[in-house]
């Protein structure tokens, strides 16, 4: 199939960017979206044009490094699928595809389609963990955890930290990302000791990074490649209220 691409090109964070048009010819429908871009880049390089910069690593939907807004939708049209697992069979011959980077104040563009998502790392550094040093763990089966807790904790923990939730939100809110980690650890017995301080610190960090607030549009859930439920946002809000009642911070 043959496609027309409209791609955001931006030299670096300090320069203005703009949309450029490229042809993608003889694309095999079994290709992944990123393999299609590889083929386009190979052609650009041969014609002396600098290839389109984009992030990707594992290419199996788990590392969270890939990040493209495709025709206005983070990770493209396929639900529950990261860009690297999106395949060209989802498009038609003759389609025009617009490709942009994540758009959010907290995720500045580094180059072309590459953004800086270190704000997410700083939120985790603020409290997204259980403070247990190596070596001081009790015997693993000493902490029985029922499936009714283990399963939803795993659902929340499946977050790959890609940032699609932020890119999809009109407020550029990071609530789904933060809620996923808060809920994962708040559901498990291991996370109880620090749960009040954790939610307070993580939410404070989220605000510092200038992510917006949640206005219940649920675009984040629709864009999430791991289909993480917005019900975790309610869970986080609950934890947040309880934390202030306990007045721990």
């Amino acid at each position: 199939m043959n496609l027309k691409l409209r791609v955001w090109r931006q030299k670096d964070a300090s320069k203005a960017g703009k949309i450029e048009e490229y042809e993608a010819k003889n694309i095999n429908p079994h290709m992944s979206f990123l393999e299609m871009l590889d083929v386009v880049n190979e052609g650009l390089a041969q014609n002396g044009v600098e290839p389109i910069a984009f992030d990707s690593d594992c290419r199996e939907g788990i590392c969270g490094m890939c990040s493209l807004v495709i025709n206005g939708i983070p990770h493209g049209p396929d639900r529950g699928t990261a860009t690297c697992q999106l395949h060209m069979r989802k498009f038609k011959d003759g389609d025009t595809i617009t490709i942009e980077p994540w758009r959010a104040k907290a995720f500045p563009v580094v180059k072309d389609l590459v953004t800086d998502r270190s704000a997410f790392d700083r939120i985790i550094q603020a409290g997204g963990f259980v403070s247990v040093n190596t070596g001081c763990a009790p015997e693993a089966n000493a902490i029985p955890i029922g499936k009714h807790l283990a399963d939803p904790a795993m659902d929340a923990a499946a977050c790959i930290g890609c940032g699609a939730c932020v890119a999809a939100c009109k407020n550029a809110s990071a609530m789904l990302f933060v809620a996923a980690k808060v809920s994962h650890l708040a559901l498990l017995p291991q996370g109880q000791v620090e749960k009040a301080a954790r939610v307070q610190k993580m939410v404070a960090a989220m605000d510092r990074e200038q992510f917006g607030n949640c206005t219940n549009q649920f675009e984040c859930e629709a864009a999430c490649p791991k289909e993480i439920s917005v019900s975790f946002i309610s869970k986080m809000n609950q934890e947040y209220l309880k934390a202030f009642k306990g007045d721990i911070l």
């Binding site: 393999e35 190979e42 041969q46 788990i62 790392d121 009790p138």
Partner: protein, 637 residues
């Protein structure tokens, strides 16, 4: 020269305990005075950086990805082994040790493997305490499943995302230390050289992948946790960024490279669909718990799988290995798949595939249970191939997946360069000539959480007092070398991209140094690699500039290193004139087509010393001494 692995004396079960007692300690107040560089943030690197910082050391952690959470350990699916014996099925440290030694075809050190088995149980405790959401039984206890090469259920898992959950546990521990300032994190930063001062590893030279700036970092010791080199073959299950650069640079600075020919080809990957393909995707080995592997009995049978009756199917693993069946070890299952495809019985468009069929399991326990057990894997398969594995069997084929070889290290995980430690897949490790499923996660975390943090103190207590700064002449020299090389890539202005050379090299290696190797094929590859390399340096095209983010430039550097390293890989395969584990030489097989070891001549580790590009490296040996296990023929029948 004979290498000394510094295996402690005494009975096997007491070695590690006694050795720990003999290691020198550094008091807590003095730990603060030491700085350690850790390169790589996968399971081994993140676990080490976090644990060292908890102990009080100052840690500098580097990764080329945009966040430490992205390292390729994240993609491990199936699980992590531990000798907990929770299933009451007769597991023990002794049994995990024996399975691992045997699985590795008796080409690993007894003492290392025994220590790994001993530590395995603490790893599970640690990860559970961090909040890793392992699968549970209804009563709340931890669940297990079986993996290849073992007859007990000792694999702990978190759906099909075990690597992700373990890595996030380590990443969170690391993040805690970054947050309190004990670890300084450098993401999007690639190590391009190792710096030695007076023979000791004292730092690294890196390139900032955003600004292109080349700079130096000095420390009292350097830890490499930079993963394996499967991507030498271009197509592998590794992430596209995985590379050999860090360990190859260390090799060129004098670190010995051990057993590079021990590469693992994983039997259950989604087959190649075209020449545009950028990577191959693994389907977890855990699927072999419920899936049955088969091909049509007749050659060239093009009927749909559902139209082929039972009597015309060949469940070849169950037929050849009745006691292990579909759970035969990876090297054996891969070769068996290649054999049936070579016979013309392969399935799929290219005939390079076998069926992995869940019909029986779905009939037995229902589609819902299977969906819960493997969840994302079935969806992933459908996304990539457009076929639903609940309706028709998966098609799978072997692909490069893991490399058992790596930099040579002693029992303390220190290379032959004092102060240079190598952990995780980057070292030549505990897996011998073949790694068992669910053992990579175990080894990475054992090295990072429970071995390196003790052994590195022994070195620092004596040699860590000599302080070197990053303005030392050796650093400046290294920086100049790296800058010159970077400029060279940009100035060639030829016609081919780094990727096109990489594909050419990958195909050459797959054909001549893949699942079945011959003297003739290896010599052909060894003759061809320098030709590709010469053209690379004459006809490479790297667009863009050096002082900016330039992904083509990053690729070029990694491919240049693969082009040098590939020669070592083939040379090692040529010189090891026996078959063992993942290294299968056509000339050396039993009458039944199994790998035939030559214990009289090759019961040793081969460790290579660099002598210059295009020059023959020197092959050193470390004899493998087996005092506790009998070197038998691996039998999975």
């Amino acid at each position: 020269m004979e290498l000394n692995g510094k295996i402690p004396p005494g009975p096997l079960a007491e070695k590690w305990d006694k050795h720990r007692f003999n290691l020198k300690l550094i008091n807590p107040a003095n730990k603060r005075k030491h700085e350690i560089i850790v390169v790589g943030t996968g399971l081994a690197g993140a676990a080490a950086a976090a644990s060292l910082a908890e102990l009080g050391y100052g840690v500098h952690s580097f990764c080329f990805q945009d966040s430490p959470r992205r390292a390729h350990s994240i993609a491990a699916q199936g699980g992590i082994n531990a000798a907990k014996n929770y299933q009451n099925d007769g597991d023990s440290v002794e049994r995990l040790f024996y399975d691992t030694i045997k699985g590795g075809d008796f080409r690993a050190r007894e003492a290392n493997v025994y220590r790994l088995a001993q530590i395995s149980t603490s790893i599970i405790d640690q990860c559970v305490a961090q909040g890793v959401p392992f699968a549970r039984e209804y009563g709340g206890s931890l669940a297990n499943r079986s993996f290849g090469g073992s007859q007990v259920s000792r694999t702990f898992y978190a759906r099909g995302q075990t690597g992700q959950q373990l890595l996030l546990g380590a990443y969170q521990a690391l993040s805690r230390q970054i947050g309190i300032g004990k670890v300084k994190m450098y993401p999007r930063t690639e190590m391009l050289d190792l710096v030695l001062v007076d023979g000791h590893a004292k730092g690294i030279v890196v390139r900032d992948l955003v600004t292109g700036k080349i700079s130096s970092y000095a420390a009292d010791a350097v830890v490499l946790a930079t993963g394996g080199y499967s991507n030498a073959y271009y197509l592998s299950t590794n992430a596209v960024g995985c590379n050999v650069t860090a360990i190859h640079r260390a090799y060129k600075k004098g670190a010995y490279f051990a057993n590079p020919c021990y590469t693992q080809i994983h039997p259950t990957c989604i087959p190649v669909s075209g020449d545009y393909q950028s990577k191959l995707t693994l389907m977890s080995e855990s699927l072999r718990n419920d899936g049955r592997i088969w091909v049509p009995l007749k050659k060239g049978d093009k009927r749909a799988p559902a139209d082929i009756p039972e009597s015309e199917r060949d469940y070849y693993l169950e037929r050849k290995y009745p006691s292990y069946g579909n759970l035969a070890p990876r090297d054996i299952a891969s070769r068996a798949a290649k054999e049936v495809c070579d016979e013309g019985r392969g399935v799929g468009e290219l005939g390079l595939g076998v069926y992995l069929d869940f019909a029986d399991a779905i009939k037995r326990v229902g589609a819902k249970v299977i969906d819960e057990r493997y969840d994302n894997l079935f969806a992933m398969y459908e996304r990539i191939t457009g076929e639903d594995p609940f309706r028709s069997p998966m098609r799978i084929y072997p692909a490069l997946h893991y490399t058992m070889g790596g930099l040579w290290v002693d029992y303390n995980l220190m290379s032959n360069i004092p102060g240079l430690y190598v952990i995780g897949e980057a070292n030549f490790s505990d897996h011998g000539a073949n790694r068992l499923g669910a053992s990579a996660l175990m080894q990475g975390l054992a090295d990072g959480y429970f071995i390196l943090p003790y052994t590195i103190g022994d070195y620092l207590a004596v040699s860590g007092k000599v302080k070197v700064k990053a303005d030392h002449a050796e650093f400046k020299k290294s920086e100049e070398d790296v800058s010159r090389r970077t400029q060279l890539f940009l100035s060639i202005k030829g016609k081919r991209t780094a990727d096109s050379f990489h594909k050419e090299l990958g195909l050459l290696l797959w054909e001549n140094c893949g699942m079945a190797r011959t003297d003739e094929g290896l010599k052909r590859a060894l003759a061809k690699i320098p030709v590709i390399r010469d053209e690379f340096w004459k006809n490479l095209n790297v667009p863009g500039e050096g002082q900016e983010m330039n992904k083509s430039l990053e690729r070029a550097g990694r491919v240049a290193d693969f082009l040098e390293f590939a020669e070592l890989l083939c040379l090692d395969a040529l010189e090891r004139k026996e078959s063992c584990g993942g290294h299968f030489r056509q000339e050396f097989q039993t009458s039944e087509g199994e790998a035939k070891r030559d214990d009289a001549n090759f019961c040793h580790v081969a460790a290579w010393e660099f002598k210059g590009v295009g020059k023959e490296p020197v092959r050193h040996q470390e004899p493998l001494v087996f005092e506790n296990v009998h070197l038998g023929e691996r039998n999975y029948k």
